[in-house]
Every structure is written in structure tokens, then in C-alpha cells.
């Protein structure tokens, strides 16, 4: 079991949370009015999927329902950071 320290609710088991998507696929979002099509396709479909720490968007779906930016190692399941989403982060 992974333990996520929700900034609003405190430490909770990961089954209370829902993984939404890789942070990179949100943070690289282009300009809404004049998007670069190739860049947007890359953002939507490609993932670095490297071994090690990733920034991910999760939702505390069975808790406060807040959006979170979690830095988590996908090999060891260690959680480095659990922060509220900032403006522009939200999925």
C-alpha cells in the first residue's frame, strides 16, 4: 500500500485516490487559441514512461476530492511529494 500525504486530509492509503494522468501531459499544454498541432498530439499520445520518479496528477476521490500533484517513483512506489495542483495543472 502506498501512503499519500494529502495536504488537506493528511496521510491516507492510496486506494482513496485515483490516478488521472502523467503531469507532463498537462503541463506542456499549448496555447488554446493557436495550438501547435504536432506538439499537442505529442502531449496527448506520448509518455516518457521512464523508470523512476514521475510527477503525476491524482485526485483524492474518496476524500476531499482535491486535485493533487504527486511525485512518485514508479519502480519503488516511494512518494516524494504530494502537493495541491496549481493553476494550469488541473486535468
Amino acid at each position: 500500500m502506498q501512503l499519500f500525504n494529502c495536504p488537506w486530509c493528511g496521510p491516507r492509503a492510496h486506494i482513496e485516490f485515483t490516478y488521472i494522468r502523467d503531469h507532463q501531459s498537462v503541463s506542456t499544454r499549448g496555447n488554446g487559441d493557436d495550438p501547435d498541432v504536432q506538439q499537442e498530439l505529442d502531449r496527448i499520445y506520448l509518455r516518457s514512461n521512464h523508470l523512476g520518479p514521475h510527477q503525476e496528477i491524482w485526485q483524492h476521490s474518496a476524500g476531499c476530492r482535491g486535485w493533487l500533484r504527486i511525485t512518485r517513483n514508479n519502480l519503488t512506489h516511494e512518494v516524494e511529494d504530494c502537493l495541491p495542483c496549481q493553476h494550469g495543472d488541473a486535468p
Binding site: M1, A13, H14, I15, Y19, L46, R47, S48, N74
Partner: protein
Amino acid sequence: MRPYSALRLLGNAFSGHKNWPRAWRDPEPAKQYDVVIVGGGGHGLATAYYLAKNHGIKNVAVLEKGYIGGGNTGRNTTIIRSDYYQEENSRFYEFSLKLWEGLSEDLNFNIMVSQRGSLQLAHDEGQWSSLSRLANRMRVNGIDAQMISRDELSRLVPILDCSDEARFPVLGAMRQGRGGTARHDAVAWGYARAADRLGVDIIQNCEVQAMEIVNNRVVALNTSRGRIGAGTVGMAVAGHSSHVAAMAGLTLPIETHMLQAMVSEPLKPVLDTVVMAGALHAYVSQTDKGEIVMGSDLEFYPSYAQRGNLPRIEQIAQETLALFPSFSRLRLMRTWGGVNDMTMDGAPVIGHTPVDGLFINGGWCYGGFKATPGSGWAFAETLANQRPAELIAPYSLERFFTGHTIDESGHGPIPQAQ
């Protein structure tokens, strides 16, 4: 090496089965091969076999970082079927199922294909309609499918709770009579032995760590057993596709997710078909040894850990018990996990890459065991001709950028939802 036969079995019985020769050689890697396959799972080994058998390309090596079949090939719940809706998938998986039907004879290795039928349960009207639609589509494509009522179902699977009081009431099911199971380890061993007999080098404990690329062409692989030159390279590394492809500077439409499965202690035969409940994502069958095999849903977060967490095991046990209350006294014997290469549309990625001489076979999600023979067949054809075989041409990497995704479940680019 001599073929296996009943006579040889009898002969070896007299010496207590102590004198069987090894099934495939254990060669030192050569300096250079025409084709190098990365990954000794079912897909890599099948590719090597069909390269040698169908195309006469025998200067081939399969490099496996651990032992062959130690990845998802030896970790899956062994279900084979061809009940797909999308035309590209239907055609491909039916081709693969037809190969399964003759595979033991072809490989001279008993891979224990058992066409015991596979059932997809419907728990409500919506599921019944969508399974009927699937069955109709399959029959239009010439594939066997049948909708069966609750009464028929309870006769077919007496231990399934089809009562009104069931936790998840069952309306009926879609049955593919030619679906079933195959012995997963034997698939790896059978292909390995057959490929080895045709001259393929199977090299275990050989991890590919880097790729040498000159003028956008792959020329060699740097491995834990030294540098190995290659005319053509085929990657078939399942959940490890992204970081192996990254050695060539590629980024893939793949996210690696964990899937768990488990088996109970063995018991007398009680379940002679495969039962899948799509709504619960529980799928259950009984092995020839008597164990009940239970497969679960993804962990729903990216992971390379190759081991899952207890909540999913608890969930799958609960769901299985809801379907089969008589299993309540069974003890669990083993649980394990595998790393799945989940794509953005749920369909695999096979074909060429932007790097010359480098080809990919991956993105099988959690359903690629049944694909093993078809994938090996078509990937071998692709490597031999240096262009995508017709059967797998729709599974190109480019499809994501040209609007030609093949989205069986209709979820869009959410890998964990496929």
C-alpha cells in the same frame, strides 16, 4: 535434435527420465547477427521461430535479460480467444487463434491448448446488448459466437451463482466455443526449442543496455554480455518497451501499468470453461493441475514494480466469491504481478520506427498472450521484408498522429482505462 514422440517418452521412462537432452542450446553470443530480437517472451521467441521457418532467416539471436518466459508470458492467466469488435483486431486475433489450433503439432511440443470455451458474462441489459452486438459482428466476420441464456448458463457452469439473490445477478453470457487456455510456460519453451532447432541462438541473462546508432540506423546493441552487431533489431519487451525504445531516442504512446493474478490450492475438476465478468474485471478458470486461476484489474497507476498491492487481491477474491460462492473455503497459493505495456488506444504497436533497421512489437496491454502466434508470424514477415506485414499494418506507431487509432473500448487516450 530428435523430435519428441510417444516412443521416446516410453524409452526414457525405462531410464527414469534422467537422460533427456536439454531442449535448447545455451550458446555464447556471436559478434554479429542478421536479426537480433530483444526480449525472450512468447512474442520474441515466436518471431525468431517464424523468421527461420517461414523466411529462411536463421542467423538470428533472441536476447533475454533474465530467463525466457519470465516476463508476462509466464505471468498471465493463459486465456486465448478472438472476440474483438474492431475489424483490424478481429482479423488479427482470429488469425492468431487459428495458429494456436495447430501449434502443438507445428512445434512438436505440447503447449496444452484447451478450447474449453470462453464466456463473457452479462450482468445487465446494457451489457447484454453490447455483447449481442459483439457476437453478431463476430459471426459476420466468420468467427464462432453465441448468446446464451441464464438457464443454459447455469447448466453449463453449475457452480456459477445464477440465482436471483446473487451479489451480481447474471442475465446470460456470450460464448466463444473456440476460446480457452494454453499452457503459458510451454509456449515459451516450445517456441524456443523449435527456433533453436532451426539454428536460432537463444541467449539468456543478456540485458540490452544501449543501442549503437549510426546515421539514423541501428548497427549494434551493447549488452551485459558484450557488444552484439545487428543488421535488423526487433524489440519485443512488453512493459519495458518505453525505456528500451528510449535507448534509440524514441518516445512511445505507452504507459507501463501493473496487473496482478493469483491461484488457489488445487482441487478436483469443477470448472471446465473460462468465465470472464467484464463488468467486474474478474476472469476465472481452472488449470489442468486443479488450481483456480483468478485474474484482476490493473492497479490503475503506472508501475514497473512487478508486484502489486493487497487491496486489488482482496477485491478480486471478493468478486470471484460473489460469482462462485463455493470457493469460499479455498486457500490462496500464490499471487504475482506483471508489467503491462498499455497504449493510448488499447491496440498494440507493431511495425517500423523512425530509426532505420529498428522495429517494435509492443503495447499488448493485458491481452497479448492470445496474440503470441499471430504477432510472431506477422512481426517475422515485417522484419524479413523490412516493411509492415498487411495483417499488422494498422498497428503502426503513426496511427496516433494521423487519426487512425483502433480504440476497442472507446476510452480515448487514457491507458489505464483500456
